[in-house]
């Protein structure tokens, strides 16, 4: 139903982006506490992969140097989600040799216990790389046993193709990462879920899993198939009750890119200092899937994929359905940056909001079975209890209601607002 626009980049092989002159590493790139223990100070020389900051709190994730060079500033800098946050600026020193993280012992997984693996993953700064950025080591320590692990390769957001390319080009690493996660969680049922618009990735994985116990689940291409609750339902036919977590139904979901990062942390001792980013949009001359160092300014990415055929009117971190529009192109790539989408004026024209026709499109499309139109009307009259009754808190914010509204009502926006107002 939604125009996917994945053809812009889905067949373009991963390219490594040249190292940036400067990298800006925000102290918070995850859900949880910011890193409050600085391990470096201004004028220090750091090497790629070196720990920059961490936190005492357990729901947090350390950050590492993504290039070798000198710390030139520690202070406020643009942040794609928070607007501004404290960041460490590293200026690259070309005289320093780049750190290498080669593949170590092939059976490394056997030399660690689950607890040791968890610590390794925590220290490598790994977070959920599909965009949620929840610290992975927390998700790997469920308070009760789980029986199923779902690997999310759905990548249902339009335009984005980095997970797709990763599955095509790095299947072996992903599978090793899955093995590590499965060992930590001690689960037997392992599903790899891929949407059926990724034929190449599906065939690569079908071959790759031949000698494993894993199951591939080819899912219908239907946004928001990759949303956690939808994915669990599609794969296991289990419903996560309102206000509960996946582990309450015995399931854990990890993104393919997270699995790959786990593999690199364990088999290469490599912290999370780079990731794949789809840089795309009709107005980019050379869109692609780039391997980018964390902290690289996004304007570097856009000029690397340019030139622009038209003036950019909107820059989005993430996809067009759930991504975040940016005030400028001067912000760093962070651990959750799965894509950068550049749109021109004709693509972002804001249509005037009309009166609800009660056509029911939002109701038909809501993956959570809510009545978004009624929630938005309750919000308009500030009836928060009614908004809650209509299920505002269960909204996964996929944006299909606003997308499909013929009179351009800002429905999901109203629901998000309601969530901040409802007393839980």
């Amino acid at each position: 139903m939604i125009k996917e626009n994945k053809e812009l980049t889905e067949n373009i092989a991963i390219k490594a982006m040249p190292l940036p002159e400067k990298a800006y590493i925000p102290l918070i790139q995850h859900i949880g506490r910011p890193c409050d223990i600085l391990k470096v100070k201004i004028n220090d020389t750091v090497k790629t992969g070196q720990l920059l900051a961490c936190a005492e709190a357990s729901v947090s994730s350390p950050v590492h140097a993504s290039i070798s060079g000198k710390i030139t500033a520690i202070g406020e800098y643009a942040h794609p989600i928070l607007g501004k946050s404290t960041a460490i600026t590293i200026e690259r020193d070309i005289n320093l040799t780049e750190e290498q993280f080669p593949l170590l012992d092939k059976s490394r997984i056997n030399s660690f216990s689950p607890d040791e693996l968890r610590l390794l993953i925590k220290n490598a700064g790994i977070v959920g790389m599909g965009g949620a950025t929840f610290p992975t080591h927390i998700k790997l320590s469920p308070p009760k046993p789980v029986d199923s692990l779902i690997i999310n390769g759905a990548e249902c957001e339009p335009y984005l193709t980095s997970d797709n390319r990763l599955m095509i080009e790095e299947s072996e690493g992903i599978l090793k990462g899955i093995e590590i996660i499965a060992k930590i969680l001690n689960v037997k049922n392992i599903y790899i879920a891929i949407e059926d618009n990724k034929a190449e990735a599906i065939s690569v994985f079908k071959n790759a899993i031949l000698n494993t116990q894993y199951t591939i689940r080819v899912l219908k291409t239907k946004y928001p198939q990759g949303a956690e609750k939808q994915l669990i339902y599609s794969v296991l036919r289990r419903k996560v009750p309102s206000g509960k977590l996946p582990l309450d139904v015995g399931a854990v979901v990890h993104n393919v890119a997270t699995c790959f990062a786990v593999f690199e942390a364990v088999y290469k001792n490599k912290p999370l200092y780079e990731r794949l980013v789809t840089v795309t949009g009709d107005i980019l001359k050379n869109p692609g899937n780039l391997k980018v160092r964390i902290g690289t300014p996004v304007k570097d990415l856009i000029s690397f994929c340019g030139p622009l055929k038209k003036e950019a009117k909107k820059i989005i971190m993430g996809g067009p359905m759930m991504g975040i529009a940016q005030f400028s192109d001067d912000f760093p790539v962070i651990k959750g940056t799965s894509g950068i989408l550049v749109l021109s004026e004709d693509e972002v024209k804001e249509a005037q909001e009309g009166i609800c026709l009660r056509c029911g499109e939002c109701v038909k499309n809501c993956p959570m079975g809510l009545t978004p139109a009624l929630i938005s009307m309750a919000v308009a009259s500030e009836k928060w209890d009614l908004a809650k009754e209509y299920g505002a808190l269960d909204c996964v914010e996929c944006g299909l209601c606003s997308y499909s509204c013929p009179v351009n009502r800002k429905i999901v926006q109203a629901v998000k607002y309601a969530k901040t107002k409802i007393k839980r």
């Binding site: 939604i2 339009p158 939808q230 339902y233 599609s234 419903k239 996560v240 309102s242 950019a312 009117k313 909107k314 820059i315 989005i316 067009p320 359905m321 759930m322 991504g323 975040i324 529009a325 940016q326 005030f327 400028s328 192109d329 989408l341 693509e347 972002v348 804001e350 249509a351 009309g354 009166i355 609800c356 026709l357 009660r358 056509c359 029911g360 109701v363 038909k364 809501c366 993956p367 959570m368 079975g369 809510l370 009545t371 139109a373 009624l374 209509y390 269960d394 914010e397 299909l400 606003s402 997308y403 499909s404 509204c405 013929p406 009179v407 351009n408 800002k410 999901v412 926006q413 998000k416």
Partner: protein, 313 residues
């Protein structure tokens, strides 16, 4: 890079708009209009044009008076005028559809706040007003392919002048092709079904309300409308009057029917039950219009308490 637009997600939008939906419904009504002119003569065309153009005029005028953007091109006024005239006999004086359009647009739609805010189906409010004010004009029908007046099959039944199709000199085939007395747009069932199919295929309407509406009328008529229980002529009940027009084109109106599939089904059940009650025991031979109007009033209540199944990806 500056002057960037910053807004919350989603950042892309489906292309379909209000006028896309309204025009689709207008297109779906065309076969039935052509059939009406074919059956009742060119007079039917003048009634339709009077209805449509006066509706457009009143819409533009009142939007101007209210200081709103004139939105006649979204086709909703065209649709109201068209539906109103489809609910009139072909031989009414031309000022009748004009007055009807005024009531529909000015009273039922704009006085409530315009498209999206009206509680009752505007075309049906217009018709109800005309029926109350000028009952003779509204209940004098002409015979198909002729200019003499004739009663509708339901009126014959109500007045006890005919008890079955044989006594009316009609067959089911006459009903399908529209060869019977009635309103301009309600008689040709085949044309209406073509339009309904078109809307359903294009996913403009869902069939929950029409299905419930028609099924309940058929079921109750079969059980209670015959000489004995379970002897009623349910095919006659379904094909006569304005049931097909009402069920597919007015019980599916977005603004005045429930939001959810379950709600629409309940709405259809209510319409069907009321239609049967009015036909069987009411003072009027036909009850489709009134039953839809009555159920319109229940829509907020239905939406308030009927919820779709949560979390059904």
């Amino acid at each position: 890079m500056d002057n960037l637009i910053v807004s919350t997600s989603p950042h892309i939008h489906r292309k379909e708009s209000v006028s896309y939906i309204m025009w689709a419904v207008v297109i779906a009504l065309i076969p039935s209009g052509i059939a009406g002119v074919w059956i009742f003569g060119i007079g039917a065309l003048w009634v339709m044009l009077a209805g449509v153009f006066s509706a457009l005029l009143f819409e533009a005028l009142i939007c101007r008076l209210r200081g709103k953007k004139v939105s006649i091109l979204d086709a909703s006024a065209i649709l109201t005028g068209l539906l109103l005239s489809y609910n009139l006999p072909a031989n009414v004086p031309l000022w009748l559809p004009v007055v009807g359009s005024f009531v529909a647009i000015a009273v039922a739609k704009q006085a409530f706040g315009g498209l999206g805010r009206n509680i009752f189906n505007p075309a049906l409010v217009g018709r109800a007003f005309l029926l109350a004010a000028w009952p003779t004009y509204m209940t004098t029908f002409i015979k198909p392919y002729d200019s003499i007046t004739a009663a509708t099959p339901l009126a014959l039944l109500k007045e006890g002048k005919a008890l079955n199709l044989g006594q009316m000199n009609l067959s089911y085939f006459d009903f399908l092709t529209g060869g019977r007395g009635g309103c301009i747009g309600e008689v040709c069932i085949v044309a209406l079904l073509i339009g309904a199919l078109y809307l359903w295929v294009r996913k403009i309407i869902s069939l929950h309300a029409p299905f419930a509406f028609i099924t309940i009328v058929a079921l109750l008529s079969w059980i209670f409308s015959g000489e004995a229980l379970f002897k009623g002529d349910f095919i006659f009940a379904v094909l006569s009057g304005g049931l097909i027009l009402g069920a597919f084109f007015m019980a599916t109106d977005y603004v005045t029917t429930p939001l959810t599939a379950k709600g629409q089904f309940i709405f259809g059940l209510g319409c069907g039950l009321l239609t049967f009650v009015i036909r069987k025991w009411g003072g009027y031979p036909e009850g489709v219009s009134y039953s839809i109007l009555i159920m319109n009033a229940f829509v907020p209540l239905i939406d308030r308490f009927v919820r779709p199944k949560r979390y059904s990806p």
